[in-house]
Symmetry: C2
Subunit: 480 residues, 2 copies
């Protein structure tokens, strides 16, 4: 088993190094918070997106593509939304040498781009539910410290699903479906997560309520990797999205959104990683199996030809395989592919040729087994499953060991000092007490557990701020 | 055969209607020249892009993704490039409530975003040739009349390949490869085209030379759908992209680019269309076969079940099929799918159930054949091939019948008045004569035929402006 010491203790440096050395992104682009996607990183992200597209298709969402520029007049139609975003948007004010009549916002998210079109498209109950999505670049003028994949000014791969419904209940069904989609995706990525209902003061600007999905990073801070919002009729009233009911009367649609981004990749890299670098789930690894030939003097030809046969067989079996014939020493190659997180390495030397065997090394545990040549494909597939299971179990243990139930703020502080993730504290439900706890703990309230049945405080527990009867369990964490 | 009268005579209206009614784009987005991609249009475009990705992979291009914003300082490093673009870029000048220290350009193309990174990435001859590409949104402040897919301020699906080479010869090899890639793609789209070498005054800003690929649209105007540029060392000198040669000395790389966009889709829609709407090549049709059941009273169940069996069989054969069970009359459905260009329609009624037959209607010629149920898949595949062949032949005839060799400007004017496409005129090679002809003809010089062997004027032919011996054949057209 590989150590996870630097991974946890110097996570920030570890993460930056892996991003750079594994060829995920180049951070040297000359605009702060905007990075260049390198081929290997982009391939992993595309593989993640393949699952998103599949889930969208399965659930009847249609893909659309909206312009990235939004007229100021459209942007300013929903009051809370503007208040939430206007401090962090980029403005296009000139074209050529002239100022524009109407300034344009580079979308920070696409509600205000989409909803005047929804008003044209949605006419009757027969058009509902209406479900679309896109994966696009969006822009936020982050003033906090930027970090590749995690906090950026250009989110390159922003997923946003937007839906419209006849009533609140149907919108609620959509939120349930979003959670199911999200859970399916997390299984593909072998990630464990929690869902919290955000407090009123941290809802998405314009939402009726917001849910957030979090993972716990190696340094104990949480990362939000998905959000689902029920907007009720807040936006449909601002953008006049009406539909005709079966009885001929008209009403505003209920709306929801569901958002994700390249933070998914950040979570995969961070949570499955170790001191040697990335460990990619086979589901999304651009290279699932790398073959490293280890010839001895004189055996080159037979070893390479044996390796090529293996490559061909794996490729024919639909496995993404790469035969590494670069002019480098095997040790250098091992290091390189371990850093890049390739799930399974095949080593073949003259003895394997002689015995009709191959050596399989799994990246997660760095264990090796020798298998018979004819079992190759089956064994590789088994390993993929084992790796997925191991990664998920480890991620789940990590998550569970980083959620701590406490009763006092002192206990909570101790947890944070120890970088142990999330604390759950009884809470009376008052905003003032929630904000007070955030201040005292130097942490954010993630919200209360969702579904809300799980959010009820045990009988007799007290809010540590006001001392009154606690209504909820509230989660706090230091967040990214 | 369907008429192509409105298609040609009122092409502009025809095109706008098809775009709208077939669900390609919505032009009502509240920013001029920026459109919303609708699901059906986006699916077709993605299918076109699949072939582009395949060709890129085949030829060893790696996919990257650069930020859409370029600092003014980077943008202004290559003099000709700025001169060419600065009048038509969008400027981001503010973020939040503050002006930016360095203004940002929304990329009109990505040379100036990429090349400072190339300077970091490319070190030695071993890194060459260096070949990357991306498909991204780019922005141009077009002052001419905008048209969906054709002339827009947001090009949503801009393909750009950028390469770097050790010397001019290797860059020339790249241009040849680009032409081969382009030709493969055109075959998939059943399009016929010509390649011209642009005159000096119409090169890409910063290029040593530029090639352009054109199709002739239904109204006789040409549409540029691809460009290949050899930059020589113009950009590498401005961006300091040096590599170490085998002998230890350093030199600037030679660079090329290759560009395409959603104009490919515009060409497909326009050139294969007819008065009933689109005719999609089966290679890129999101729905290749639509099944329209035509039950009679009492036969509904058996007809639907027969149709479902057909759907399943086609799907299992890897064909993109849709069974249309909407509550509409068959005639309405025929109209709808013809407009949307679905290549093959399967009609099944009670008689087909009885006789174990199906009726296949091909969209291009609107001919019907009755085939045996068990021949279904084979016949559909045959039809796909026939349709591809027919579309290509027709496109090729259209192109060839719209290129006319003339000797005088009067003849050329007559051709344009007749909307007959492209004229080829002898030309002495002097810029002044070329510009004079552009002015007289109210047309653009596309350039000279490429490869240049084909560009030589016949012996004894004269430049119609100066009367001197002609060196080249020059092509002129009214262009989009």
């Amino acid at each position: 088993m590989v150590e996870r010491k630097r991974w946890s203790e110097e996570f920030s440096e570890w993460f930056n190094e892996v991003i750079e050395e594994a060829g995920i992104l180049d951070k040297r682009y000359p605009v702060k918070g905007m990075n260049v996607w390198l081929p290997y990183g982009l391939k992993i992200m595309r593989n993640i997106e393949k699952f998103i597209h599949e889930e969208m298709e399965r659930t009847g969402h249609q893909e659309v593509l909206f312009p990235a520029l939004i007229p100021e007049t459209e942007f300013k139609k929903e009051a809370e939304h503007i208040a939430g975003f206007e401090g962090e948007v980029f403005w296009v004010t000139h074209a050529g040498h002239e100022p524009l009549d109407v300034r344009l916002v580079l979308r920070p998210t696409s509600e205000t781009a989409m909803y005047s079109m929804f008003a044209l498209w949605i006419r009757s109950h027969a058009d509902l539910p209406f479900k679309v999505y896109q994966i696009v670049n969006v822009y936020r003028y982050e003033t906090k410290h930027t970090r590749p994949l995690i906090r950026v000014r250009e989110i390159s791969r922003f997923f946003e699903a937007h839906t419209a419904h006849a009533d609140f209940e149907d919108a609620e069904r959509q939120i349930k479906e979003d959670l199911e989609i999200f859970d399916n995706l997390m299984r593909k990525l072998a990630l464990a997560y929690i869902i919290s209902k955000r407090p009123e003061w941290d809802k998405f600007p314009g939402a009726f309520y917001s849910l957030g999905a979090e993972v716990v990073m190696p340094d104990g801070r949480t990362l939000q990797i998905g959000t689902m919002h029920n907007y009720k009729q807040n936006f449909s009233k601002a953008y006049n999205i009406l539909y005709e009911k079966e009885d001929g009367t008209h009403d505003y649609v209920h709306q929801t959104t569901f958002g994700m981004s390249e933070r998914l990749l950040a979570a995969v890299i961070a949570i499955h990683g170790d001191d040697r670098g990335m460990v990619l789930p086979p589901t999304i690894a651009p290279i699932q199996v790398v073959i490293v030939p280890i010839p001895k003097k004189g055996s080159e030809e037979e070893v390479y030809s044996y390796a090529k046969g293996i490559e061909e067989e794996l490729r024919d079996a639909g496995i993404r395989v790469y035969l590494d014939l670069r002019d480098k020493r095997p040790g250098w190659k091992f290091y390189d592919w371990e850093l890049k997180g390739v799930p399974v390495r095949v080593e073949v030397g003259p003895i394997d040729v002689q015995n009709s065997t191959v050596v399989l090394a799994r990246r997660d545990k760095l264990e090796k087994i020798t298998v018979k040549r004819e079992e190759l494909v089956d064994k590789v597939r088994e390993l993929f499953e084992d790796i997925m299971e191991f990664l998920y179990e480890r991620a789940n243990e990590w998550l569970e060991s980083h959620i701590k139930r406490v009763d006092t703020l002192e206990e909570a502080k101790a947890v944070f000092e120890d970088r142990r993730g999330i604390v759950e504290i009884p809470w009376c439900g008052e905003e003032s007490c929630g904000l007070k706890m955030e201040e005292e703990l130097e942490a954010k309230m993630l919200g209360i557990p969702y579904p809300e049945e799980k959010a009820k405080a045990p009988e007799g527990s007290k809010c540590p701020v006001c001392g009154r009867e606690a209504k909820f369990i509230a989660r706090f964490a230091r967040t990214y």
